[in-house]
Symmetry: C2
């Protein structure tokens, strides 16, 4: 297979990375995608760095079987803790969601105050702080872990009084910092954007790292002469470690289109 | 080692099974315990039956290395889906939390209306319904999955308005069924007993399956002549699949005493 026609590999701890695949399909419609979701071991955001790194290494190894031309780490938690190790071990280009999200926030803020919300592991890693400090050291970053957001989304409680109250509890400290840009640093959080936007108010820009990352993927592929801009029919394959059915049902909400070809693998 | 002095093996998807160990230590103070918490793959309650069974088989295999005299499945989700398979494959006596909880609820209810709360997997398994129907077919069972309860507990939000509002949302349908006994069908839920009790009102008995299970363990050990009632110093060992530190910190809240000897194992 010509290098250009090779698929893009994407992995996530579970289902949330499909929001990134959605943006990828829209923006790069000729690219084929192999998606791997570690649904048997999800979530990663409550686990330790060493476990997250170990799982991420295994996920990349799995995707390499498909001769992917690059790998996108859709999971913020994996991107936060594992990216340096992945890049040290593997030659394939690997793109995470942190730098693209940090770039966008730094571009969007006017008062140089940025907020980050994510899992416990992402927040503890301080990966967004490090990335933003490299881009513009004058920007101050306030961060907040939101452990109830993923179960809220997976329960379908995207609006209503419980969702609103939890969102206020998490975001009040960030509002008090006077931020004007907020990075939604977990694949599930864009589904709460409406409530988050109401709580934060109109003056605060919400940054979806997944969307920003697709632009970086495009740029990298162009730079490496790997962009597939021919008029070809792409192929989408999905692999998960837990049962396929549950993934397919919930996944179609995240992807915004029907999912075929989901296969369960005994990753571990 | 004499059979009586062999340790009791306990496994759970994570940290919550320590509430059962706490009861075990209090009720059977001469028994040694080997605890296994699959903290790298926690939670089980959002996973499918086949994955839960596979993980549970691996957990029993791990505990058998310690020549345990019996195994207690502290996890409601594992007990719900995996117990028949575990008993089919292994000769060691294996006790789950479902039947003891079902027995207690059937004993306590006066109006023959029992409620069950648990993870999605536990509720879908209908394991409590099946167990209660065997004991007293006249009892009707209403069940409700509460996916936000575990993250609430792990966030330490055991009281306050968010906790109260979520609890009301989950329990209102059970209140309307007029139940007078409620099985707390997940190891984490007893930590919410105060809020759950306020929402349900005084007339509703809260059943902690872990406590009930310890009585069944004692009975089984007596029946098999395996009860250690000599005055010996017990040994407590803890094994986890994610990092030991986080387990130790949170675990001491569940166990109500300090935890020594935690070892990380690469289960998978």
């Amino acid at each position: 297979m010509s290098a250009v026609r090779k698929p893009i590999g994407v992995f996530d701890s579970g289902i949330g990375g499909l929001t990134l695949v959605k943006a990828l399909v829209e923006e790069l419609p000729s690219e084929s995608v192999v998606y791997f979701g570690d649904t048997a071991r999800v979530p990663y955001g409550t686990k330790s760095k060493s476990t997250i790194v170990r799982f991420s290494l295994e996920n990349v190894e799995f995707l390499l079987r498909f001769d992917v031309k690059c790998i996108v780490v859709a999971c913020n938690t994996s991107s936060s803790w594992a990216l340096p190790t992945l890049r040290k071990y593997f030659k394939v280009p690997i793109i995470g969601v942190i730098r693209p999200g940090a770039m966008a926030a730094t571009r969007r803020t006017r008062n140089k105050r940025v907020g980050v919300i994510g899992t416990r592991a992402t927040v503890e890693s301080r990966a967004y702080e490090t990335a933003i400090a490299r881009i513009d050291p004058a920007v101050t970053v306030s961060s907040q872990s939101c452990p109830l957001f993923v179960p809220l989304v997976e329960s379908g409680w995207l609006n209503g009084s419980v969702c609103r109250m939890i969102t206020e509890q998490y975001l009040d400290p960030l509002k008090q910092q006077g931020i004007d840009a907020l990075i939604l640093g977990c694949t599930h959080y864009p589904l709460l954007a409406s409530t988050i936007g109401q709580v934060m108010g109109e003056g605060v820009a919400l940054i979806d790292s997944a969307k920003e990352t697709v632009a970086e993927v495009r740029g990298m592929l162009m730079g490496e002469d790997l962009l597939c801009d021919q008029h070809v029919k792409p192929r989408y394959q999905f692999f998960v470690t837990d049962e396929a059915d549950h993934f397919t049902q919930l996944g179609e909400q995240f992807l915004g289109r029907s999912i075929r070809s989901v296969e369960r693998v005994n990753h571990r």
